[in-house]
């Protein structure tokens, strides 16, 4: 099975980091994985996105243009990628930042006010990981029980004090009851 | 029998190709004498430029690299960084050092690369047959300034020592000439000091040697020496332009 995921939002929301976390956990599960970021000046304050592929077979193209799973954290990204999502795909929306619903009826849409939850729970800057927790719950893209080992790989050594907060954010998203 | 004069060991037996009266031969000898006297022949690496002295690699009996035009200081940087125990010098003319290689010259000085630069300024492009150089004097006639260097159109000569004296990374800058015995002796002293600085790890040293080019200046060797004295030295005054360690004393 191959899961093609696209994560998109503003630069600074931790878009690339959250994708890296998923890819690393995929690697630890012995899957084939790839992670490909957008790059260039647009990254500074503009839109950022990354393609993440987790697969049982070798990954061909690392570019995800038609995602099975779309996670968006700003309106321009939803506008840009909603139509590209495959039929039957899953779209995850930070409803604290995007005040419209998905227009399509042939996809599953999930709404979570991740940015608001983050600030309510003192997890500011970790709305991305709250979203990811929710994505894991709804897609089983990686098993939730192993999140800690992947976190240890992707959280830089200088920021190990943020491990707990990241874990808390993931759990918050995973246990989010709509 | 006492030997009163001999060829420096750091020179090969190859016959120099330089024009009659050209002072490259003297400068080669001064460099080789300095190498001999400092006992560094076995560990010195020379970088030859593009220009009249392009074949310097045949004349110095030390390991040599021939560099692209103007790039000798960059090549020297690489050699020195690879094997810091080697003594590395470049031997460059005015077109090489002050025109096409200006960036390499300024930045190797700015980095304070621990290398020695021997800069031969004869105010003309020699190897290509006498065109205007970055150091050609105002009004001086060359193949590409046939009516004399017109500063209103092509600007002014670059005074390398003065320019580099504002570069913090440079350690030692001196301008010398080889037009008479007294000046040759002073030139030798400066060249030796520029090598000594490197041995002591003091950083970037450059000696500018004001030189003649009788053939392309269209003068006899003797008249060329006079011309140098009368025209070049007023524009390019001799002396020490920077000596970081002397200043600190």
């Amino acid at each position: 099975m191959t899961k093609n995921m696209l994560i998109a939002g503003f630069g600074g929301q931790g878009i690339l980091f959250s994708g890296k976390f998923l890819a690393y956990e995929g690697l630890l599960e012995d899957k084939s994985v790839s992670w490909l970021p957008s790059y260039g000046p647009e990254m500074r304050g503009g839109t950022a996105n990354c393609s993440v592929i987790i697969s049982d077979t070798p990954v061909g193209s690392p570019i995800v243009s038609n995602p099975d799973i779309l996670m968006v954290m700003n309106m321009p990204s939803l506008d840009k990628y909603e139509d590209a999502t495959v039929v039957g795909g899953q779209i995850f929306i930070d409803s604290a930042l995007i005040d419209r619903k998905v227009n399509r009826e042939d996809v599953e849409a999930y709404y979570i006010p991740a940015t608001k939850l983050a600030s309510d729970e003192g997890l500011s800057g970790l709305a991305n990981m709250i979203m990811i927790g929710y994505v894991i719950r709804k897609t089983n893209i990686i098993p939730f029980e192993n999140i800690e080992r992947a976190l240890q790989k992707v959280v830089p050594a200088s920021k190990q004090h943020l491990l707990d907060a990241n874990k808390k954010a993931l759990e918050l998203g995973f246990n989010y009851a709509e | 029998m006492a030997v009163v004069f001999e060829k420096p060991k750091a020179l090969t037996d190859a016959v120099l190709h330089y024009c009659p009266g050209c002072t490259h031969g003297i400068i080669h000898r001064l460099v080789a004498e300095a190498i001999d006297e400092l006992g560094i022949q076995g560990k010195t690496i020379g970088i030859a430029p593009v220009g009249c002295s392009v074949m310097a690699y045949d004349y110095f009996d030390i390991d040599m690299v021939q560099a692209a035009h103007g790039r000798a200081p960059a090549v020297a940087t690489g050699v020195k960084r690879a094997n810091p125990e080697n003594i590395v010098f470049t031997y460059q003319g005015d077109g090489d050092l002050a025109a096409i290689g200006t960036a390499e010259t300024v930045h190797s000085a700015a980095r304070g690369e621990n290398i020695t630069v021997i800069f031969v300024n004869n105010a003309i492009y020699g190897m290509t047959g006498g065109q205007m150089a970055p150091t050609t004097l105002p009004g001086q006639v060359t193949q590409t300034s046939p009516y004399g260097r017109d500063t209103a159109s092509v600007g002014f000569p670059i005074k390398v020592c003065e320019l580099l004296s504002n570069v913090d990374g440079a350690t030692y800058l001196e301008r010398v000439a080889v037009n008479n015995v007294k000046n040759v002796k002073a030139a030798k002293k400066a060249i030796k000091k520029a090598f000594q600085n490197q041995i002591e790890g003091k950083g970037f040293s450059l000696v500018e040697v004001v030189s003649t080019f009788p053939t392309n200046w269209g003068l006899t060797p003797q008249k060329a020496l006079d011309w140098l004295e009368e025209n070049m030295l007023p524009y390019y005054p001799l002396g020490v332009y920077k000596d970081k360690f002397a200043e600190e004393k």
Binding site: V33, G60 | D61, T77
Partner: protein
Amino acid sequence: MSEKVLMKGNEALAEAAIMAGCRHYLGYPITPQTEIAAYMAKRMPKVGGTFLQAESEIAAINMVIGVSSAGKRAMTSSSSPGISLKGEGLSYLAGCDLPAFVVNVQRGGPGLGGIQPSQSDYFQAVKGTSHGDYRMLVLAPASVQEMVTMTFKGFDLADKYRMTVMLLADGTMGQMMEPVSLDMGEVTEYDKSWAVTGTNCERSHNIVNSLFLKPEELEKKNFERYEKYRVIEENEVMYEEYMMDDAEYCIVAFGIAARISKNAIDMARAKGIKVGMLRPITLWPFPKKEMRAIADRVKSFISVELSMGQMIEDIRLATECTRPVYLCNRTGGMIMTPEEVLAKIEEASKGGNN
């Protein structure tokens, strides 16, 4: 085998260079390969190496010449416009028979072009980066793992043949992360008695030089160098075949274009079209013999490239124009989708005009 880690192509390549014994990186910043310089700036001081940010691409390649002349492994990296500037040095490296490892993480051109992935420096890499009769060994990785293995191998080939090895990647290969093993094995040491390390007054002086004013001498040097190139063409061709056993159509693609083509081939196979791929890993030497043999068993070729069609000329030469060659291309930083490649495969399978 060591544990796999997730690394960016640019950083994995840099680490592989260090593992290959490179202790001198000389470079200049340019997108999309700046991570290589940043990684080296961090790592080199920790392994006793030199990281130097040069004043220009030209200075950087000439510093490489200096380090290499002194017998040490050296590298520089850049992206398209920067490689053009390095051209002078690449010719001197060839003329001086010096080893060097040079990375081009390609972006769109010509001119300042763009910063998105491209393969439009194919001609530059395999035909003529600079002046004179010479070749560079050109390696085209198609995964982060190959960025690592080809870097390690690239340094070896450079020393073995005393020539420049260019790793031709693109923005995607440099920026993407994939699992990699950094288990590379031992570094082979080659004789470098030609290097300038000082005579110690015990041997005649070594001269690293590309100037030969006597034409008969220069011609002899060039003949000798081309004999070396002939040996390389004989022994160092690398390529990968994908689903070629029963293929009737053959895609030729390298780097990211080959990755995209794999998806398209899987899609075409699901539709019953027998298509496969020959992926050159060495762009020079080009897998000419293999391609010529394949031409006898397929109906047509499809060149998939991120350029206006450069490698396609080599495919036509290699196959002696015995089969039609279709072109599926995007350029300027645009990347084709697997669907676009599939459409070209379908066109070829219907025998459309190429």
